[in-house]
Symmetry: C2
Subunit: 261 residues, 2 copies
């Protein structure tokens, strides 16, 4: 099994190293790392078409070889799957993101959209995030999340995933033995608390931050947010088809009405 590891926090992020180390323990697994050289958080599903991309060799902190690119997380996946890696890739695992990716976050998340890119290429994919809120980088412990990622990767390697489906995994920020189980969940309701912050530069010109506090969420049963709130690992299957089939009935008259038919 050839696994591509990528992320959106950059190739030097500790979450990526923890993930690569854990996946390397899968017997017979061959791990390639190709990740952005800088942080691309909250950049969404991005494809770089208007400039060329560079790729270069780097070493991770444990001395192992990896590749870095000046492209986005999705670009890294596209580069790898279009032939930059000679050996075909069987699975893409993206992460470990230091913060949760829940509810609407998945549309912004570079961690998740890297996995989307893989799925578009027909390669199964898993996105892994630490679900512990927004703790500072220094106190983050990726070990339980890395171990869960290893187990889920092994499961997907054996069973596969339906086409067009990726798994979005959020792991509570606790030691492995404190995890309260695993739940298959739906996306919950994020509550964003963004605020427009107006400032003036030293020359008196206005600029803006999209600021405000970290998002919260509604911890409903059956959702990713609900699972994390109970110390349970959340595994949400995501589909690429965003068609709102339930909305068809309400739109029935639109065509005739706007075309005067």
């Amino acid at each position: 099994m050839h696994i591509l590891v990528t992320n959106d926090d950059g190739v030097t992020a500790p979450g990526l190293l923890a993930l690569a180390l854990a996946l390397r323990q899968i017997p017979g697994a061959d791990i390639s790392v190709l990740a952005p050289h800088k942080n691309w958080s909250a950049t969404g599903h991005s494809k770089t078409m208007h400039r060329p991309l560079r790729v270069w060799k780097v070493r991770l902190e444990d001395g192992s070889q990896a590749l870095a690119s000046d492209g986005s997380p999705s670009d890294c996946v596209a580069l790898a799957l279009l032939g930059l890696l000679e050996k075909p890739v069987d699975l893409v695992v993206s992460g470990i993101n230091p913060h949760p990716n829940l509810g609407h976050d998945v549309t912004y998340s570079g961690t998740v959209t890297a996995a989307m890119e893989a799925v578009i290429f027909g390669v199964p994919a898993i996105a892994v995030s630490l679900g512990g809120g927004y703790a500072p980088q220094e106190i983050l412990d990726y070990r339980a999340a890395a171990e869960i990622a290893r187990r889920v990767a092994l499961w997907v390697g054996k069973r596969g995933l339906p086409r067009e489906i990726l798994l979005n995994v959020n792991v509570p920020h606790v030691p492995m033995e404190a995890l309260k189980g695993v739940e298959i969940t739906r996306l919950g309701r994020r509550v964003y608390r963004d605020q427009l912050v107006r400032r003036e530069d030293p020359w008196g010109r206005t600029y803006y931050w999209l600021g405000g506090e970290a998002p919260t969420g509604v911890p409903e049963d059956g959702t990713d947010i609900g699972a994390l709130a109970r110390g349970v690992v959340s595994v949400t299957p995501l589909q690429m088809d965003m068609t709102a089939h339930d909305a068809f009935a309400g739109l029935k008259g639109l065509g005739a009405e706007i075309m005067g038919g």
Copy 2:
């Protein structure tokens, strides 16, 4: 009805002007334009959090006032809805994109993700694209697409949309009288033909393009791609909830298996 017009091609794009002009013909409509100052095509659902944003006044080619920002399409929507525009926004219309946004394109498309941002804020939104393929900018005629956008906006203004739903509209590139009707569609299957193009710079170092020909699609009945192939306007309702409910059954055993339960 206060309508925010934005796009991902930049505030000087002819598709934006055509859209603003058409929407201004809606009786009682108040149109604000806030769009990126540069082209953000294929950048996905992006939120700028690591740098401040600037906003400045510009004039469109018809002499009307607009706002430009150095943020992404989604940033423009967030800025507007978080209070940069004093008057509350009732509807966001994004476009007109010069190329179609079909199938998986919607996850990459700045035109569509601007509409997603609006929907996350609870404001109904419409993304409009010219469905005529990849014709050169000089020969594009936005008139029919702008007129369809006006009619759909009027319809949504009257009827509203369910929460969490946006409309992705693709209009064939033909004169208004040649349109063959309107169909409510699901997302079709895009066929991407990306290729890794390897080059060498003048100093002998390798770089890469994510190149290849424009995507094609499978023109199945009931899909956006199928509608356009028959000269019909495609209106696809998109939902933000990407949960793959159909995949739950297949994942049933995952938790017990990986936790050794």
